[in-house]
């Protein structure tokens, strides 16, 4: 009898172990990083801070976002002219979506549908229904569209066009441009604060970040940066992220290898954090305890502890990491 119990317990334990082995690790939040030159996506376990999986993707993966529930990962495969959708749990390709030519960055409507895609080579924003892959509309915008932001209520979509130096505000009900905001040279990113009261637009060559009031679409302040020992032309703001409580904003400064921490109330720069080389995109963990930065020239991501405003670790991923999204 005892032997039987022992045998069955052992068998159950072995079966359990095998099952655990077969399923991908699901412990904590994971960061998905698109590696532009490797045509892959690295999955970083945010608890152990190790790459747990590298997935082959379409060519030149750049923009990467998650569905509102965090179950699907959307990825721009720029050179394959399509959007790829991955299951965040199984890490398998679920489907591909039309995107228009050369998709670079995109944004999902807060409801999870549709998807607004910037077509860098085509001067268009393509709107796609993610459920049936149908083209909703193509919105003509400025030259070299890139940055894509959407207001938390989903009423306004903002696209930045790098060569026109403008942010185009689109009413999502009519898909018409209702406002053009002139900003500094080469705007890369448009990001709304979570309360929808601020719109942050980074200008890469201009070296500034414009904070816009969405009530009037007027610029409240242009933030510029000064880092001792770093020349002004190396300061190229790209990625912007604002905390949910609207207290802090983080701006990636490209070849300055720094992320600026900004008081989002006073709009003053508080400090600069040293990260890897040519930092472009940023992504919070869902609890906003950490911020992940993609460092394109040093092939790694740096992890910033948001509360203490310190860089805790840098993790090597694939070649030229471009975009990042963290899911629960």
């Amino acid at each position: 009898m005892r032997r039987q119990i022992l045998l069955s317990t052992t068998a159950a334990a072995i079966a359990g172990l095998m099952l655990a082995d077969a399923l991908p690790a699901q412990a904590g939040p994971r960061a998905f990083v698109s590696n532009e030159r490797d045509h892959t996506m690295s999955v970083v376990d945010m608890d152990t801070l190790k790459v747990i999986e590298t997935i082959k993707t379409g060519r030149r993966p750049r923009g990467i976002i998650a569905s509102p529930d965090g179950k699907l990962i959307y990825l721009c495969a720029s050179d394959d002219n399509r959007v790829e959708v991955y299951d965040a749990a199984t890490l398998k390709l679920v489907k591909t979506l039309r995107s228009g030519p050369d998709p670079e960055l995109f944004v999902l409507h807060p409801s999870g549908n549709p998807l607004y895609i910037a077509n860098e080579d085509d001067n268009m924003v393509t709107v796609v229904n993610v459920d049936n892959n149908e083209l909703v509309v193509e919105i003509p915008v400025g030259v070299e569209p890139e940055g894509m932001g959407i207001s938390p209520d989903g009423k306004y979509m903002v696209n930045t066009s790098e060569t026109t130096n403008m942010a185009h505000v689109v009413d999502t009900a009519t898909n018409e441009i209702i406002e053009n905001i002139l900003v500094d040279s080469r705007p890369r990113i448009a990001e709304f604060s979570k309360d929808g009261k601020q719109l942050w637009i980074s200008a890469e060559v201009g070296g500034t970040v414009a904070v816009v009031d969405p009530a009037t679409w007027k610029i409240i302040k242009k933030i510029s940066f000064k880092i001792p020992g770093v020349t002004d032309d190396a300061i190229q703001p790209v990625g912007v992220r604002v905390t949910k409580d609207g207290s802090k904003a983080f701006v990636a400064l490209g070849p300055a290898n720094r992320v600026a921490v900004i008081d989002a109330k006073t709009l003053e720069v508080e400090k600069y954090l040293l990260v890897g080389q040519r930092v472009w995109q940023l992504g919070f963990t869902p609890d906003e305890k950490f911020l992940v930065t993609t460092n394109g020239n040093s092939n790694d991501v740096s992890i910033i502890d948001v509360a203490s405003e310190k860089v805790t670790k840098s993790v090597t991923v694939g070649r030229s990491p471009w975009g990042v999204v963290v899911v629960p």
Partner: protein, 280 residues
Amino acid sequence: MSSPSPRFHLPLGGYLVVLAGICWREALRFLNQRGRFLSALVRPLVWLFIFAAGFRSVLGVSIIPPYETYVLYEVYVTPGLVAMIQLFNGLQSSLSMVYDREVGAMRILLVSPYPRWFLLVSKLLAGICVSLLQVYAFLAVAWFWEVELPPIGYIAVLPALLLTGLMLGAMGLLMSSVFRQMENFASVMNFVIFPMFFASSALYPLWRVQESSLVLWWICTLNPFTYAVELIRFALYGQFEPLSALVVAGCAVVFLGASILAYDPSAGVMARRGGPENAR
């Protein structure tokens, strides 16, 4: 051993009295020389504030253990400056030995019935205690300069500092047996402190030195000061570096053994060089 074998029994408590006495004298000397404390603090701070500021954007390129991410040059150079404080302190203690010999205070010390090795080790420990004060004062100022180390590092570095302090102090002790006059200390600066400090991993990571010159890399690799710096660097991040610990401990034993031998009136260089015994 160097000490004349005592015919009477020396009480154990007496050892403590000797140690306390030597430490107290060193502490008094240290307190009376405020300029020494100030210069011990200002020297590394000048490096940190001025030299490191110029290199701020240069480093922050590679990640080498014990660092887990990119660090500013100030952060990289801090362990080297801590070791520099100990290097200067070790040699300054040796300078005081030369001074003691000149004014005759050493004779008083060496006529003690306690074993000479114990007197020398006590002298070393007193010097290390002084260097610890200087190091922690420096780290406190560096903290305000955004060189914030993990809290555990401030404790973990203590045993490392004792070991490196022992090695550098013993080295100073050995040298003090060689130099007859204080004036010679200037040449010590040129021929010992600077080469030791510059040809080490204190200012640049060794991989960078290797990139520019293989010969220099070999010199740096053979320099015991490099291992003192690395032992302190790892300890400041709560980590233990076995190779550095081994090299530092080994060098400390060799230097200490040699200096005890050198201070032996019958066998050492002291006898030949006109030490206090000759003055009797």
